[in-house]
Amino acid sequence: MAVFIVRRLIISVFTLLAASYLVYVGTALSGDPLQDLYGIQDEGDAQTQMDARRRAMNLDVPVFLRYFLWLGDLLQGDLGQNKFGQSVSGILGPAIWATLQLVIAATVLAIILGVMIGIISALRQYSGFDYTLTFAAFLFYSLPVFWVAVMLKQFGAIEFNDWLREPRIPLPIIVLVALLAGLAWMAIIGGNRERRVSTFAIAAVATGGLLWALSETGWFEDPGLGFVAIVVLALSAALGSTLLIIGFRYRPPVIATLSTAAVGCVFYLFSEPVLEDPSWPVILLLAVIAVGVGLGIGYVVGGLQRRQAMAASALTAFLTGGVIFVDYMLQAYSGYYDIVRGRPVSTIGAATPNFEGSFWESSLDTAGHLILPTLALLLISFAVYTRYTRASMLEVMNQDYVRTARSKGLTERTVVTKHAFRNALIPVTTLMAFDFGAVIGGAVITEGVFGWKGMGQMFIDGLREVDPPPVMAFFLVAGGSVVVFNMLADIAYGYLDPRIRVS
């Protein structure tokens, strides 16, 4: 395995070098870097400025050699200056953070949601749910990112913020959403007619009632979860992880996850001093502790199903922690709402300028800025992941070993999660690398629409000015992360499919 990784790494470095040569030469030849100086009236002044820029950008050196000057600087850790004399590494620092936030959030969400929904879609092949999703995926593929982004800006931010002033959901919309939710749950759960009808009724009534109650009690003006909601959510996290990982056949894992959820709820009651105004390291530490506690409870209570109980409890602990995190964030909402003068969903930039607030308020600020560009990027990748997972899951479900697993009497849950799901993931890992490049491309566009000062903007500005150093800095990060993702995918591939390692 080590040899495999090292060999991949060496090849990647050479690939990246060759690609950087293409990008450099392409950028340098894409236009005239002196264009903006031709407009200067005073000829003597224009001449001096042109000479200065020729010297600064080494324009007298042929392009094909100029690359090596840049490469030489790079090897000494210098990214160079853009054509207005600013240091590129100075611009790159904050830009990387903004873009990576966007890209990683979109990729992770797309993978989780896409894989999940793709699997459901495959398990319910040719149902209404499947057809709807297939059509939605085709539609999302065909959407131009920039158009969606402008639309999101209009409806997701401007009009949504207007709505938040008077947050009442009109009754027809509640009914419509309730009916749609009922249909979706009916298609997901399936079963015979009786079961379908009851699923539909329960889901529709629950959704409609919840929305109506939230709207009537003015929840959207001052949202929060409260202890009861946290207990309910923690218990559902416990039951959900048990169902996903081992099922309800054995008692110890159920006890383990339920007690983990209970510990989470008790922690919530006494969490005020710790979570008043924490920092990211504290949150991370708490997450690690939560997972550790989950593992511990699973180890102690798990009995014969120790391994599965540990996994299920750790998942429960993580989810419960997430619920508590969201609760604290929502508690800070009304304060934040006043700070941003009633416009919580933002359309410009990665953070409110000169924003000072508690940890929770600045998290809300980040979330409010991230949500729309992430959504714009998410749609397309989500469609790709759903389609891919669905196809690969269908392929796997038709394999003989799945039939064997069924015929030896395993439950459908075990067949799906243990035998089919893992194998269906193998081709999906290759997609990760491809898709990451696409998301970075999408980020170039979305950043422009949402006014983020990210790497994509740096790239476009550099390209418009025919200025290689910023473009190259962007490429090093973008191409580098594509290569890293590619490699991670290859390693994951090798891990998931032992046949690859042999060759």
Partner: protein, 335 residues
């Protein structure tokens, strides 16, 4: 297969021609070639046929309405000439019939409205659709030819040729598509739309090259290739005459999808100002020109976007239908 099951089990002569049993029962069976089977499956694919008809309608609408080059069209306004504002520049298109309280079904003077200097927006959108369609098809052709040839050469010759070509593919893949396309388009955009299409096509061939190489690696071990080689056939003839037709399914499907990817890439680049340059327009540059009009005159923003979605969606459906037609295994259910 069906002929076998129809044959009476008590057939005395086991080496009988398969259809004989059916002929005895009065059933005539016409043999279908592979091509006929594929065509049949494609024409029965409802989404694909819907896409096909929509795409043809859009193409006909775009090219006949304002005419193309010297040929005049049936729409009397030009996308270049300005005019006085009718109806405040709002669209005069109405689709609500009179008895439902609307203005009746009519096109009116400017169905999509007018922009701020009074240009007819329908003519502008049609011009944009023409340009975007031409570029998309050029992209499809270029990327397919390059991808198929690179993949075929790498798969057939193996060895050093394969090494060089596949490393080249890796290099192009490691540059994010939109980034590479933007860099090439920044230079090529000024040289007109065909050059722009070629430039973008040179970016997106990599996926097809890998697929075709895979096909060729399997095909070159087949007996008919061995036989052709033994007969002294030239490599170029083996590749294009013997092997390429066997990989045609992958190639056609990729070509279709490349058109869909192409139109999205081109409109994105034009939106960024790197593709089709003013005064000429494409669907992407129209969106970028009028995105600020979203609140005041939404139709200026909606129409070009809707056309992009319609074109891309119908091409994607056609691609899906072709994939099912060439590879029916993908849709088969086995319970």
């Amino acid at each position: 297969m069906s002929t076998e099951t129809n044959r009476p089990a008590t057939s005395e002569n086991a080496t009988d021609r398969p259809p004989s049993g059916d002929e005895a029962q009065g059933i005539t069976i016409a043999a279908r070639t592979q091509g006929q089977l594929i065509r049949r499956r494609f024409f029965r694919h409802r989404a694909a046929m819907g896409g096909m008809i929509t795409l043809l309608l859009v193409i006909v609408l775009a090219f006949t309405s304002i005419g193309f080059g010297p040929i005049p069209g049936w729409w009397d306004k030009s996308y270049l000439s300005t005019g006085s504002l009718v109806n405040d520049g709002d669209p005069t298109l109405s689709l609500v019939p009179a008895f439902l309280g609307g203005d009746g079904i009519r096109l009116g003077e400017h169905p999509f409205g007018q922009d701020d200097v009074g240009k007819d927006y329908f003519a502008l959108v049609m011009r944009g659709a023409q340009q975007s369609l031409i570029i998309a098809f050029v992209i499809g052709i270029v990327s397919t030819v390059v991808g198929a040839v690179v993949g075929a050469l790498a798969g057939y010759f193996r060895g050093r040729t394969e090494g060089v070509l596949m490393r080249l593919t890796d290099v192009v893949i490691s540059i994010p598509t939109l980034v590479f396309a933007a860099i090439l388009a920044a230079a090529a955009g000024r040289a007109g739309i065909v050059v722009l299409g070629v430039a973008i096509g040179l970016v997106i061939w990599t996926g097809l090259a890998r697929l075709v190489r895979g096909e060729f690696l399997a095909l070159r071990e087949k007996e008919f290739v061995e036989a052709a080689r033994a007969a002294g056939t030239k490599p170029s003839r083996i590749i294009f005459k013997h092997m390429m037709p066997n990989a045609i399914g992958v190639i056609i499907v990729s070509a279709t999808l490349a058109v869909a990817v192409g139109i999205l890439l081109e409109t994105a680049l034009s939106y960024l100002g790197l593709g089709v340059r003013p005064p000429d327009v494409s669907l992407g540059s129209l969106v970028s020109l009028y995105e600020t009009a979203m609140t005041t005159r939404p139709s200026l923003f909606w129409w070009p976007g809707i056309f992009i979605v319609i074109i891309a969606l119908s091409v994607n459906f056609i691609g899906d239908g072709l994939r099912d037609a060439f590879d029916p295994r993908q849709t088969r259910v086995r319970e």
